[in-house]
Structure formats: C-alpha cells, structure tokens
Symmetry: C2
C-alpha cells in the first residue's frame, strides 16, 4: 500500500474507532416511518406488534413525544435507554457528573467511558442504538440559579415542536435536586414522575405528580426516600451508598412502563408504586396534596384544580364506570386480562399492607400540625397525608 | 511517518477496533480481591457497601458462585449483565440464536452486533464490562439429544470447582426449551429459576424450583406463560410476539434480585412472583408439586423430599420463629425495614387478589383429575394445584 493510502486508512480507522468508542457510529440508517413488518432488520416489529395484540391503539404516536430525564445515573441511564429503544421522539438529558468505574455495578455505562460526562457518553451510545431519536444534553447542575432558569426554559420549550415537554422524569439521587424539579414543575404546571432508590439499595419507588391534583414532593415525602445526604460528601468521608443493578433496573422499568402507559394511553398509571426487594412487596397508593404545602405554586395549582372540579357538572351515579375504557380485549393469542373487581391503585387496604410490613424512613421533618385541617376532596379513594402519617407513627 | 510505522499503526488500530466492537478490550485490569474502599476507580465499592448497610454479611462470596443462563434474549442478556456487574464468579451462557436489528427494542444488544451469535456477542461485551468474571459459552439448541446430554454434563460439572452450578436460570421463550431445562434439573436435583414474559409483552413472572419440594414446570404451568408457539414459526407467517424493554428489564431484575437473595442469604426468596404491567400488580404464591406429575425424576425427588421430612424430628411449637433470621437491622442511615407481621409470600389472601384481577392463560391441558388426591404436606402456607385451578376456573 502506498504512503498516501496508508495515511488515509489510519485516519479512517481512527475515526471509526472514535465513533465506536464514543458512539455516533451509524450502525443503521434512520427509519422514516415505523413499520410492523416482521423482518430481522426491523427494530420496531416487536413494538408495533403491541397494536395487533390489542394493547396500544397508536404506537407510532411515541415519535411525537418529548421526555426530559433529570439525572443520568443508575436509574436515569436505564430509563433513557428504554425510552430510546422504544423509539421516543426526543430526549432531554440533564446531569453534571462524569462516568466512573465506581458506577460499573449498575447497568448501561461501560469501563471505556470512564472520564466522559454522563450526558455526552449516554447520548452517544443511545444515538448509535437508535438514530431516529433526537437528543439534547445539558451538562450542568440544575440547582444553581442560572442553570435552574435555563432548565425551566428547556422544560417549557424543549419539545420537538418547541412547546413544553410531555413529561419530566426525576432520576436524581439527592434532596436539593428533587426540590428543584418539584419547584420547576409546580410553577410550570408540568406533569412529572419522581423516582428513587434507598441508600441500602433494597427499596425504591416511583411517584406520578400532577401539580394541584396529587401531592407534590414538598407536600409529603415519598415513603422511601433516598437520603438527602449529598453523595459527594459521603465519598469525601470514605463512605458511599450501596447500589444494585437489580433494584435500579426494576425502578427504571417501573418508571418507563408507567411513562408508556401515560403517553400511549393503555393500562392504569400508578400514582405511587414502591418496591421492597427483601420481601418482593410492591405497595401502591395515592396521596392528596397538602393544602398547607410550603411551595407557593403547589397551592396555586391546588386552587386551580379545585376551581376546575367545582366548575364541572355533577356526575350521575354509574357514569364513572361507563367512562372507564376497557384497557384491552381478548386477542388471538388466547391471553386475556380483565380489570373487573380489581382494587384501585389507591386502595387503602394496600396501604395497610404497607403499614404492616415496612417502617418508613423520613429525611425531613413531619408536616405542620395544621395539615389536619385537610378537607380538600382531591383524588378519589386516596389516603390523606394525615392518615398516612398516622399509620406510619402507629408502627 | 515511515511506511513501516504506518503499517504497524494500521494493524494496531484494526486490532483495537476489533476489540472495542466485539468486546475483549481490556478496559480495566482484573481485580484480585473485592475491596470496600470508596474511590472512583473501585467498581465494587457500591456492592461492598451492602455489608456496612447490614443487608449482606459476606458479599465477596459471590465470586465463588457459578450460574447458568439458558437463553440470552430479552430477559437472559440483562440477567447476565446484572450478574456480571455484581461480580458473579462464573457464568455459563446457552443460546443458538443470532443478534438481529429486530432485537433492538430490548436492552443490552447494540446494532453493531447484528449477525453475531448471541452468546459470543454477550460474552465479549460482558468480559469488557467485568474482566473478573469467567465466561463459558455454548452456541447450540439444548433440546436436541446430543446437545441435551452436553447441557446436562455442563450443569453437573461446570462450576468454578468442577462441580454442579449453583443455579440454572431459564430465560428461554418457548415450551420445548423450558421442558428440557425442567427435565435436566429434575434428574440432577438442580435448584433453578424459571422466567417468562407473555406474548403481549405486558406480563411476566419468575418461579423458584427446588426439585421435589416445589412444583416443577411439568407439575403446573406458570400462571402467565409465554406461548409454546415457536418464535420462528411465527416469523415465517409474518407475525411476531410483542416485547418491551420495560417488562423484560423488570423480569430480569426480579430474577437476579432473587438469585442474589438465594446466593448471598438475605431477604426472602419468592417461590413465584408475577408482574402485571397494566395494573402494576405483583402476585406471589407457592405451588406444591403434583404427586401425579408426568416427569419421572420429579416424582423421585418428591419421594426423597418426603423421606427427608419424615426423618426429621418433629419441631416444637415456636421453634420456627426462633430460627428465622432478622434479615437486616437498623443501620446508621436511619433506614429500617422490619418483617414483623408481614404476610408470607405464599399467603392465600394474595392469591385471591390475583383471582380478582387476572384471567390466566394456559397453553397446555389441565393436570389429571387424580391430582385431587394431593395430600403431600410440602411447603407451608402453600396453595395446592387444585385450589389454584379451582380459583382460576371460578373466574
């Protein structure tokens, strides 16, 4: 080979190596339209099959949706990968951390990415997995004043059409970041999901928050909260939280499954879903907002929600049942699921199951005594904050 | 650069590219002993923290264990990745399939691996993620006569010390392969886990099988079974099963979490754990073996187990409680979980929850009527096959 050809070959190889290592390799062409065709080369055949199975009526709609993932660690990275493989339209990724070998006990990141920023490493890998998804990355801490304003702006106008994102998913590991997401979503009236894994790695939860309608993060702490101790403080002292790829993978799976149910309109979205790994116990419930919540915008949204409820004509008895959609029907595969007589996600009986089995960790003070005046008729069949606290204290 | 130097550089780059693409790249050195040291370069710090948190007493023991994963698809590949990241001693991987773009809607495999055998692609990626794990791959179908014999032999003598593996995990997608794993494990008296995801992608399960002690796969079908229709037959007709990265990730997480609990002796191992994605409902139960099971070795193991029970001195009242270990205690993080008054995993009340919410899919005939004679006093608090079938039929 001539000197020129060899030089050209070295450049090609270096470029390919860079792409493969840091993502961006065009492993497949972009696909203009999702197809249900069953061929080995179609990455969407198994997803489009959800339509034939009677689960989802319009799977292609996923391409129109934008989701923001805040925190690209043990839960957030797997969350982003699942959404990418499902063919989401656009992902916004927020994180200020770097990949370290100490993250290798969780799924997603690989040793050759050590030292790269999490958002850049993630976006590169995800882009090579699915080039049809649009990625927008922000390598910063959302809790500083300037960054918080920019974060708010991107939530408000970061969608594929320049409008608000469809959902914000909080996958952060500390109290301050959760409070920042909560504040932004309350102010913007933005529907979002909270997620968390305990410091001992054997429990976790997801929570669905509709400002004004369900409790915000400031109304009531989640039942199992990741400690508010900053991970970096911990590390400086030679101490770190435990984590497991199993627990984080399950929490990411529960989160994205509920995101899909919300975006594609199938099944029932859980307001709160916990996971206790030691017992394989998964409590569900709904918590009403606290009328005395310290978050100004939470109270504004509560007022709006109450006004909306008051403006609605009173429902006749039996109307509610008629409104409920049959989530899916018997199908050609002989597999059927029926929702008849299924306890509601908010059933207090399930709550009492939790009270029997789990003592709860709080990392913040209990809500003010005045919260007893809670009389807001918010979500049906819900457990009030007071009932919740009373049950917890009775343990 | 000289011609020789350029030629050398091309070779180096080609070799590095091959390693990065197909794994095998030495992204980090092997680590001789697991350390709890909290530094960014220690991939085991978050796992060893489980000891300080009071969850696991001897995490390092995981390095002595060998697990066989049968089927490296949507559930098996994630299962193998989780175990690899947890630092398992050795993994045996069995699969005869190739990676296709049509698999990209599930976690783990990436487009650049299309065309490679699943076991080779998986082992290469996993080896680069954790070079401390030993991998043994078998690119064949375990259901053919010769391969089945070899499969049996590897289960019997494939561990790090040349003895039987600690667990077999069935992550296959068809009835024949499940029956082959069941037959091998019954004959060898090998403890194993079954797993499955339904054709409509919105339910799944794991099941823990101790030959003679709990129902085998031939005694009772799992409550939600992947259809026995062969995937390749489906594809030939232009039809395929639906699948989601969420459901498969959650089932893999439930599976590996229970594997960790079994191998490292913490928490409670579930005998059966189901997942209904539409309702976020997770039924648990225990099913006793069928004395009329058609599997010869299952009946042999049942006889051995009964003989063992009969040979044990009768327990005094209250002894059982005393034997139960406190799975973990209050720790310095203020997070505590207690097992007091927690319903047993086999509680019939949970079973009735299932009966309320889910109609079950069977892909095989009901067990013989003679099964009514079931009087084996096997697992405590269990639901007999008859009770189970009666509840299902009552729907």
């Amino acid at each position: 080979m001539s000197l020129e050809k060899l030089q050209k070959r070295v450049k090609e190889l270096e470029e390919e190596l860079r792409k493969v290592k840091h993502g961006g390799a065009a492993s497949r062409e972009k696909i203009a339209h999702m197809s249900a065709e069953v061929v080995d080369t179609n990455p969407y055949s198994r997803l489009m099959a959800l339509k034939r199975m009677g689960i989802v009526s319009d799977y292609e709609k996923i391409r129109t949706h934008t989701v923001a993932v805040v925190g690209v660690g043990g839960v957030g990275s797997v969350t982003a990968e699942m959404l990418t493989r499902c063919g989401i339209g656009k992902l916004l990724l927020f994180d200020y951390d770097k990949v370290e070998l100490a993250n290798m006990n969780r799924l997603f990141f690989q040793p050759h990415q050590a030292g790269l920023s999490k958002v850049e490493a993630a976006a590169a890998t995800l882009q090579s997995i699915n080039p049809d998804v649009t990625f927008e990355t922000h390598n910063y801490n959302i809790t500083t004043v300037d960054n918080f304003d920019h974060f708010m702006e991107r939530i408000k106008s970061g969608s594929l059409t320049g409008g608000p994102v469809d959902l914000v998913l909080s996958c952060v590991d500390n109290y301050e970041a959760r409070m920042a997401v909560n504040r932004a979503c309350n102010e913007l009236g933005q529907t979002w999901f909270e997620s968390g894994v305990s410091e001992n790695a054997v429990s976790g939860h997801i929570q669905f928050l509709i400002p004004g309608e369900t409790a915000c993060f400031d109304c009531a702490p989640p039942l199992v909260v990741a400690s508010q101790i900053d991970e970096r403080t911990l590390k400086r002292e030679g101490v770190c939280a435990a984590s497991l790829p199993t627990t984080m993978g399950i929490v990411a799976g529960m989160l994205v499954q509920n995101v899909l149910k919300f975006l594609l309109n199938f099944g029932t979205v859980s307001y709160y879903l916990g996971y206790n790994a030691l017992l394989d116990f998964f409590p569900t419930m709904t918590v009403r907002p606290n009328p005395q919540c310290e978050d100004y915008w939470c109270k504004v949204r509560q007022g709006e929600y109450q006004a909306k409820l008051a403006a609605q004509p009173p429902k006749e008895e039996g109307t509610k049942e008629e409104e409920e959609e049959v989530v899916h029907e018997d199908n050609e595969w002989g597999i059927s699921l029926v929702e008849e007589d299924t306890p509601a996600p908010a059933a207090v009986s399930q709550m009492s199951g939790l009270a029997q089995g789990i003592r709860v960790a709080y990392d913040r003070p209990a809500p003010p005594a005045g919260a007893e005046a809670n009389s807001a008729p918010a979500v049906d069949d819900s457990t009030s904050l007071d009932e919740l606290m009373a049950q917890m204290k009775a343990l």
